[in-house]
Each structure stands twice: as C-alpha cells, then as structure tokens.
C-alpha cells in the first residue's frame, strides 16, 4: 500500500456481529498497510473494543441506532473513528479499571485496552451527538523500495571506500 491517503467508511448495525465485522475489516486494512502480527492484533482488539463500546454503552444495544466506523490511512498512521448515536461521555469520568476498588468489576476495561494498544486515543463529541472514539497507530517504518527487491540495501555507498 502506498503513502496516498486512503479513507474507508462503513455503517454498522447495533448488533454483536458488527463487532467481528469491524475487526475483520480493519485487520485487512492493517495487514495491507504493512503492520506486523502483533500490531494487527492490537489494532483488531482496539477496533473490537471501540465497537463494543458503541454497541453497549453508546447505542444501549438499541437496534434502530447505527455505529459509524471510518478508517484513514495517512502517510504515517492508521486512524480509526468509531462513532455511536448515544449521548456521548467524558473520558475523564470513566472509572480507572486498575483502581483497587474496580479490579473485580465485570466491565469497564475497553477504554483502558484501547489506550494501551494504540499510539493515540481520544474521545470527542461526534456529529450524531454521540461519542466518537478516535485512535491511531503509527505505520511501521518501511525501507525505501529499491529496484532490485533488496529494499534500500546498497542505497548508500560503502563506508571507508
């Protein structure tokens, strides 16, 4: 995949199946963009958590509401937007799942995982009035393509020549 900006957008139903669909779509984009296995896992998990958040907390599992997923590939990162049709929330009000009193909570770890797995993470007011999760992963550094299929090997003159 080149460095031209690319944009993908999909509207998902508020249903459990959308979580897997969103993850699979973003995984394909991430793999095509050159991310390695570990980064793909982290991106896939973050998308999954973002859509679960929209499905459960944002849209309250109401089927008439939609989840809007967008992916942008810029020259240096993959940016993912997950927008719900709920009433929004303030990131600073989300309880810390690592706090002693929350350790045995059965929910509330999704935001934490997205923050841990992505390079950038924020929640902003969305155009629907709901919350928009915006998260990004830096693209892996790529060698300059050479004409001999050897990357940038030989691109610099031998030292000490």
């Amino acid at each position: 995949m080149g460095t031209d900006p690319k944009h993908l957008e999909i509207t998902l139903e508020t249903q459990v199946e959308s979580v897997n669909l969103a993850e699979e779509m973003c995984l394909r984009v991430a793999e095509a963009a050159g991310f390695g296995e570990d980064d793909c896992y982290k991106i896939g998990m973050s998308v999954r958590e973002g859509v679960i958040n929209a499905f459960h907390y944002g849209n309250q599992e109401r089927p008439e509401k939609k989840i809007h997923l967008a992916v942008d590939l810029t020259g240096d990162k993959m940016i993912i937007h997950v927008l719900d049709e709920g009433t929004g929330f303030t990131l600073s009000n989300v309880p810390d799942p690592l706090a002693e009193e929350n350790l045995l909570s059965t929910s509330g770890r999704g935001i934490f995982l997205m923050r841990a797995f992505m390079d950038e993470f924020d929640v902003v007011p969305g155009r629907t009035g709901g919350a928009e999760i915006v998260m990004a992963k830096k693209l892996p550094l790529q060698e300059n393509p050479g004409t001999n299929g050897q990357g940038n090997k030989g691109a610099t003159p031998p030292q000490g020549a």
Binding site: Y41, L103, L104, T106, S107, L113, A116
Partner: protein, 115 residues
C-alpha cells in the same frame, strides 16, 4: 474460532478445557453457562485450562472475573491454568494477575485447592 468447553473430573476438582476465543457473545455466554452448570452440580473447585485460548476481549475478561466472584461467593475457588502469552499479557496489564490464582501445572493446580 468459536469457544469450545469440555470438562473432566480431577479428584475433588473439575478441569474445564477451553479452546477458541472468549469474546462478546457466544464465547462469554458459554463460559458463564459452563461455570454456573458446575456450581449447580456442587462442583466448586474449578480449574479453567486456557492453553488453547489465544484471544480474549474485555467481555471475556469480565466473564472470567464474574466466574471468579460467583464461585467464591459459594465458598469455592476458580483457578486459571496454562495461560497463552496474549491472555497472560492482558491479565498482566489489567492487574488481574494479582487477583487470579494462575497455575502452570495441572496436578499442582488440582492439589492447591483448600479442602
């Protein structure tokens, strides 16, 4: 891959062999059903063998915690066995490694229950 769960008796304990993903939907629901089914049968010493579980999301983590607290509430214990690297790392960063009794050897896990 959908989650599969089978269980076998090991003395006074029950080992649940899980394989696949523990995620929102069927995976989490199957784990919940399995643990509650064992409690209904008065099997309160439970080892979850996660050797073939390489993926868990926040819903699956929540279900593990729910299983842990539910078993404890009836005086039992739930232990985890053979974590894969990814499940290990997730439990580490969420600090749940400090909550669960995590074992690497099945016979030790089975022996480690309080009588």
């Amino acid at each position: 891959m959908a989650l599969r769960a089978t269980h076998r008796d090991a003395g006074q304990s029950t080992v649940v062999d899980l394989s696949g993903k523990i995620t929102l939907g069927e995976g989490s629901a199957l784990l919940r059903k399995t643990v509650r089914g064992l409690l209904d049968e008065k099997r309160t010493h439970i080892v979850l063998n996660l050797a073939d579980v390489d993926y868990i999301d926040s819903s699956g983590i929540g279900e593990l915690v729910s299983g842990f607290t539910t078993v404890r509430s009836v005086g039992g214990e739930l232990k985890l066995l053979h974590l894969t690297k990814r499940v290990h790392d997730i439990l580490q960063i969420t600090r749940l490694f400090t909550v669960f009794d995590v074992q690497n050897d099945e016979s030790n896990a089975v022996r480690s229950f309080k009588p």
